[in-house]
Amino acid sequence: MKPASRPRPDRPHHHPHGPARRPGPPPGIRAARPALARIRHGRPARLALRLTAGLILASLTTHAGAGPAPAAGVITGLVTWLALTARGDLAPPPGR
């Protein structure tokens, strides 16, 4: 017959009214989780390609030697293009 088990003294103490709550992730990570999930469930390869293209073009722009004002304009255009087109590569938000 198996002896009845006793609570071991080195076990963590649980609150008598319910299980202890594990500390959640930091707020920054919690806020980023949905965005990461949308990237993971969307088209991450295509998004990465888009980002890479944007970065290469931005790098070419800054190294073209055209001056800061035209470069700022072109980079703004690139950022706008990325913001508009990258949405399609993300999965829809939960419940939508």
């Binding site: 469930h41 255009g77 508009l84 999965a91 419940g95 939508r96």
Partner: protein, 624 residues
């Protein structure tokens, strides 16, 4: 005299060609001088031609590229701190760009000119593309007389291909957009409506009436499931802001194995959209007919029977109605189930129930002779209806109901069931004891069961009860028994009409109306265009019936407010990210629905803490 006339003609011809030549030369000079703008414009027009974009698409692109000009001018203003320098900056950079280009530094030339050239080029392209389309469509341009037809067919193919590609992007076609509108799919072509890349209709359109017409294999099921899930999502979001909770009731009036597959797809999608309980009737859920108010129950039970309302048979109909009223409104209260109801159709039971109530007792005695026949008829009828109406739940106890009526294999039973369901729904909409709900009744192929409750009646009843009604039919003729009835249904579809591939779309096209177009006739001389011609204003279909006949699977025309948007319907897919668990809604803990655990397994990769069995309260189990 003849020589003078000939000279005059030659002079006129020469002057005309000289003017043309001057105009072309000037255009070429301007195009070369503004080479960066020209390059952008030519590229954009070529892209629009190849992708089937409308000019509006280029205008939107021009508007979205305006921030780059703004950032460029702002940066110049910060560095120069002078209005004159900022105003002169595009010109100076244009000159610098030419200089860089001549030195072979193309990238630098583009960066210098880009912030001003891109929006200007896109705007110029939209203008040039609109003129090109106008000239082709009106017959003012083109190599042959068939040019407008060839151009239109080619552009349709390209527009459809682009729309299909857009639908593959997961973030472009969610069930609802950020403004809570129901997303249908990527736009192919918009006539009389403002062009948007994706067609999204307000959720309020579903709260009114909507008609879907499409033959078998046209993609009607996809469209319907998408609109249901979209409506549920939008209504659920509205409910978090204090609006009534949604209740979706789908009547699949054909039945059969297809209906089961469709129900399963709908269930998975609705669970992903946040619906906790999706009941499929009668396969794994039942509803109680006996929760209707006693008088309504008596009337409904009477209507379920096929009775004559004229001639000698009307006498028996009246006797039946009287007996039903006595049995259902008897002092102990309405019957709680089939067995109790049939037990009451007995003179002994009725006499003891109405003991002391002399007027009703005499009525009981008058019906005594017919009671066994009436009981027999109802025993047979309720047996045929099956156990689906003998449960304990009401329609309000679930978030969505998918009711399968076997309209193809058992039309008379399905018709009676449809009648009972509409009564239950009316009760759910008007009951003061339950919480108010935003209700959508979707009827797929309703014509299969419409003999007891005609569709127009359902429409008018839905309107008066505040229920949105969506109706689908395989053809125009499936909408109603007569043209009068069909027009009554289609003309009152305030939520719009979805026209899919169908062989007889003319009545719907007529409802969409016409638009004014310019038609040009040009004289042809010896195989070439002559100098003479005429243009006139003509009326053309807004929703062209020829286009509707040729639609591919999954294409539809959304007709609303005198316009038509042709759309490629996106296959409804749930968001793969789990919905956060909703707080429990206080309400009566009524035992409700049988949902076997296996149903959430199939394909529901979105199953999460807020959906499926995990989210279902413990009360949602059928009592033993």
């Amino acid at each position: 005299m003849i020589g003078f006339l000939v000279q005059l003609m030659i002079l006129r011809w020469a002057a005309r060609w000289a003017a043309r030549l001057a105009a072309w030369t000037l255009t070429v000079i301007v195009a070369i001088a503004a080479a960066p703008v020209t390059v952008v414009a030519v590229t954009a027009v070529a892209g629009a031609w190849l992708r089937g974009w409308p000019p509006a698409r280029l205008r939107r692109a021009a508007a979205w590229s305006a921030p780059m000009t703004a950032a460029y001018l702002l940066a110049r203003a910060i560095s120069a701190r002078s209005v004159q320098a900022v105003a002169a900056a595009p010109y100076r950079d244009w000159l610098a760009g030419w200089h860089a280009f001549s030195l072979g530094a193309t990238a630098r030339a583009f960066v210098l000119c880009g912030p001003a050239a891109v929006p200007a080029g896109l705007l110029a392209a939209s203008w040039a593309w609109a003129i090109r389309i106008y000239r082709i469509e009106t017959g003012l341009s083109g190599q042959t007389a068939t040019a407008p037809v060839i151009f239109d067919a080619r552009q349709w193919r390209r527009q459809a291909r682009t729309a299909q590609a857009r639908n593959t992007a997961p973030g472009t076609v969610p069930l609802t957009d950020r403004r809570g509108r129901i997303v249908i799919g990527a736009t192919i072509r918009a006539i009389g409506h403002p062009w948007r890349p994706v067609l999204a209709i307000p959720a309020a359109a579903m709260a009114r009436h909507q008609v879907i017409i499409g033959s078998s294999g046209s993609g009607k099921t996809n469209l319907m499931i998408r609109t249901w899930a979209g409506w549920y999502t939008a209504a659920r979001h509205a409910a978090t802001r204090g609006a009534p909770r949604p209740l979706l009731v789908v009547l699949d009036c054909k039945g059969g194995p297809d209906a089961r597959a469709k129900a399963q797809r709908t269930r998975v999608l609705l669970h992903a959209a946040g619906a906790a309980t999706v009941a499929v009737w009668p396969d794994d859920a039942s509803v109680s007919l006996w929760t209707l108010p006693p008088r309504d129950l008596a009337v409904t039970l009477f209507q379920l029977l096929d009775t004559a309302d004229a001639g000698p048979a009307a006498y028996y109909a009246d006797i039946t109605q009287a007996a039903l009223m006595l049995a259902v409104t008897a002092p102990p209260g309405p019957p709680p189930g089939v067995a109790s109801f049939l037990e009451r159709l007995d003179h002994g039971w009725l006499e003891s129930a109405y003991a002391g109530d002399w007027p009703r007792l005499s009525a009981v005695r008058a019906t005594t002779r017919h009671l066994p026949d009436i009981a027999l008829r109802y025993r047979t009828l309720l047996d045929r209806l099956g156990p689906g109406f003998d449960g304990t739940a009401t329609l309000a106890n679930a978030d969505a109901w998918y009711l399968i009526l076997e309209g193809t294999s058992q039309p008379s039973v399905a018709q009676a069931q449809a009648l009972a369901v509409t009564e239950l729904l009316a009760h759910a909409a008007t009951s003061r004891d339950t919480e108010p709900r935003a209700i959508l009744l979707a009827c797929d192929d309703y014509s299969a069961v419409s003999s007891k409750v005609p569709l127009w009646q359902l429409y008018e009843r839905g309107r008066s009860l505040g229920i949105g009604v969506q109706v689908s039919a395989q053809s125009w003729h499936g909408l109603g028994a007569s043209d009068d009835e069909r027009y009554r249904i289609a003309a009152t579809a305030d939520g719009g009409i979805f026209l899919m591939r169908t062989p007889h779309p003319e009545p719907v096209s007529q409802l969409a109306g016409t638009r004014q177009v310019i038609e040009t006739a040009t004289k042809v001389i010896a195989g070439g265009w002559g100098d003479e011609g005429s243009s006139r204003v003509q009326h053309a279909w807004t929703a062209d019936p020829g286009t509707a006949r040729r639609l591919a699977t999954g294409q539809a025309g959304y007709i609303h407010a005198g316009g038509c948007t042709w759309v490629q319907i996106a296959r409804p897919r749930p968001s793969p990210i789990p919905v956060p668990a909703a707080p429990p809604v206080p309400g009566p803990a009524v035992p409700i629905i049988i949902i076997p655990p296996s149903h959430d397994r199939d394909g529901d990769r979105a199953a999460g803490p807020g959906r499926g069995r995990a989210a279902r309260p413990e009360a949602m189990k059928e009592p033993a």
